[in-house]
Amino acid sequence: MTATGLTARAPSGAAPPDEVEKDATASPPQRRRHRLSRSDRRDLALGLKYISPWLIGILVFVVYPVGYSIYLSFTRYSGMGAPTWVGVGNYVTAFADPLVGKAAGNTLFFALIAVPLGLVVALTLALAMNQNVREVAWYRTIFYAPSLIPAFAMSFIFIVFLNPQFGAFNQVLNLFGESNVNLLGDPTGVKIAIILMAQLGAGNAALIFLAGLRNVPRTVYEAARVDGAGPMRQFLSITLPLLTPVLLFNLITGVSGALQVFTEAYIVTNGTGDPDAGALFYMMYLYKNAFGFAELGYASALAVLLFLAGLAMALLIFWCSRRFVNYDVEAS
């Protein structure tokens, strides 16, 4: 890519690459501005026209709302009338609000368990989907099918599954002489139930893992087998290291999704987040403030804090990924 970043073609009049390199070594690097040729400008205009639906979409539906949310986060705003500037007041309130801490704690609890567990479940599903058997297409369909169930339907299935009297979960407990428990009525139990629910959506991540598995060169396995490596050694020394780029992708999307967990908790708790705010996740609290209490300014501040937390976590994962992600072997 050239300095303009717009076209791979060398602009007319630009110095040959070897000359540029020489100049760069002879003196401190200087930013060189290339004038766009008529042809470049025409290409640019055409390119912008072609991507204009996307550009308009991202400006109207992403850039403007994000910018406006950041502005609102410094105001008191009910959705009606004009916002009143309160400076960092909403942020100060958020840090002092015990429910923000509670909701953030619940969300982290969910993320710390659901994301790693989700990766294990998804990878296991992917390995099962990758078996070299004739019925593999059926297996793939069966393993992926739960991911197609909408979250609200899944929530109702879980409510029945966990019913203290009739649900399968308590039937198993009863076999061991335990009395009936309502997992959804316990502040920790309800979080665990929602974590388990989330695993039924692991099919999407499993498909990505499967694509990664299909890209691992067969020759590497053959060489390993010749050297006497067993299935476990092959998995630990070949499959897992070569899947790390996919693992990184699934990890980041998983964390991002976990920070925004909402639907299941909203349905299971009738929107209250109870018992004892045990299922009051961050997005639920944000939603309540925005649309239940008409505090859009405060809710926007919570959204900005969530964005910053998500960004920090993504950066942390990227930083850590240098130690475990392997980009050495290209897909065959």
């Binding site: 009338g81 015990p98 009739f166 009936n180 009525g185 708790t269 004892d276 649309f291």
Partner: protein
Amino acid sequence: MITRRTFLSAAAASAAALSLGACAPRASSSDAVIRYWGMGAADADKDLKVIGAFNATKAGSGITLDVNQVPSNGVADMSQIITAVRGGTAPDVWQMDRFNAVQNASIGLLEPIGGLIEKYEDSSVDEFTRQWVQFAVDELTYDGQLYGLPINTDARGIMYNENLLRQAGIDLDMFDPEQHVLTWDEIREVSRKLTTTDSRGNFETLGFVPWDGEGWPYTWAFGLGAQLYSNETAAVTLDSPQWRSVFELYADWAEEFPYAKADAFFATYQPPNSPPSQTAVFSERLAMATTGPFSIRSNEKYAPKLPLKFTWLPVGAEGDDTYSWSGGASLVVPKGAKMTRNLWEFMKFYTGYEGQSILQPLLGDLPTNLKTIQAGHYNPKAELFRQMLPTSTSRPPLPVGSVAWDTLQRSRSSVIIGSATPEQVIANNQLSVAPKMALFEGYQMPATYGQNSVIPS
């Protein structure tokens, strides 16, 4: 042939036209068309009966009601109406839970209707609103202005199953509202007798649970003298000893009837989001429940053979005053609506004697219009709740009503689970609600709030 340039230009023009079309305000309707968001799809037929009667009057002839059933859900989100008002597509009149009136008025979502009264009724607002139960009018009053007219109301009492009580050898006279008002000690003792467990310790039947159904913190607060806000000091009073006693009541009960077991019981016999026919009362597992006249219709529909009766809420000691609280719906005018005579005539008819006389017998709860009460135009099975109205009141009309409700509900959950003490929750409640209320410095609820209302018999 379509060139690339033509295609791109046409695509851009179409996109722009679509965007502008979507953003364009709705064409203004004529005064003869009133856009109305009704009480909900399940009761649309009742709405239509009132509208039909209105159209048959001289004032209502020629007026078209453009009805959409977009119900308001108590403390649920207001995004629909806020979006509609901001987008210029709000209804002219909206049937809204009165509980939300002050909060919605405080954010500028509603139009005050005092001007309509003065313009078309040749009467002062105070004089005109004497037609309705005072606490219902108070609930629609913010900062001295009236924001709607009340429709129905209710009250809270104890519903009990005579079969279960008789089988347990309980003296039914204790539950006869004409003879006796239960005390907390009595209802606890009865509950002990009615509660049974299986071999694994699960509750098979339960007598009474004060956090079930309408057993909200407000319900017991009114009986224990707990106030959320003091007009004298213009301050939130959620950390008062009276509020502590409300949460002690829950904690005390949960100690004897453990939350985990009771919760498993309710999750079994009336799981979350279960159909209205599936309740622990209808399956004769729960003998007593806190509820209101709104249960009458479902009792008749789903358990017509069960001998379900009503009595007063329990009091602290023999001879204490009875108490209750009442909610209900109202007609309000969203911001930006055209304040026309036709709109006013519809509101007046719907909430007045004629409209309520049609509506209330169908709904099963109580009118707020005093003439309608006097004429007895309501379900006779709700008579006990009518008797509760003089000492009943609404939840405090505060601009932070939803936050307060949410906070109190969560505190109840903490106390019955045992993760916080009553002392801790009242301190937290004060910390949660007082700063939000501080934004309305010097706020005053209507002077008549909390006083007994005059209800004709």
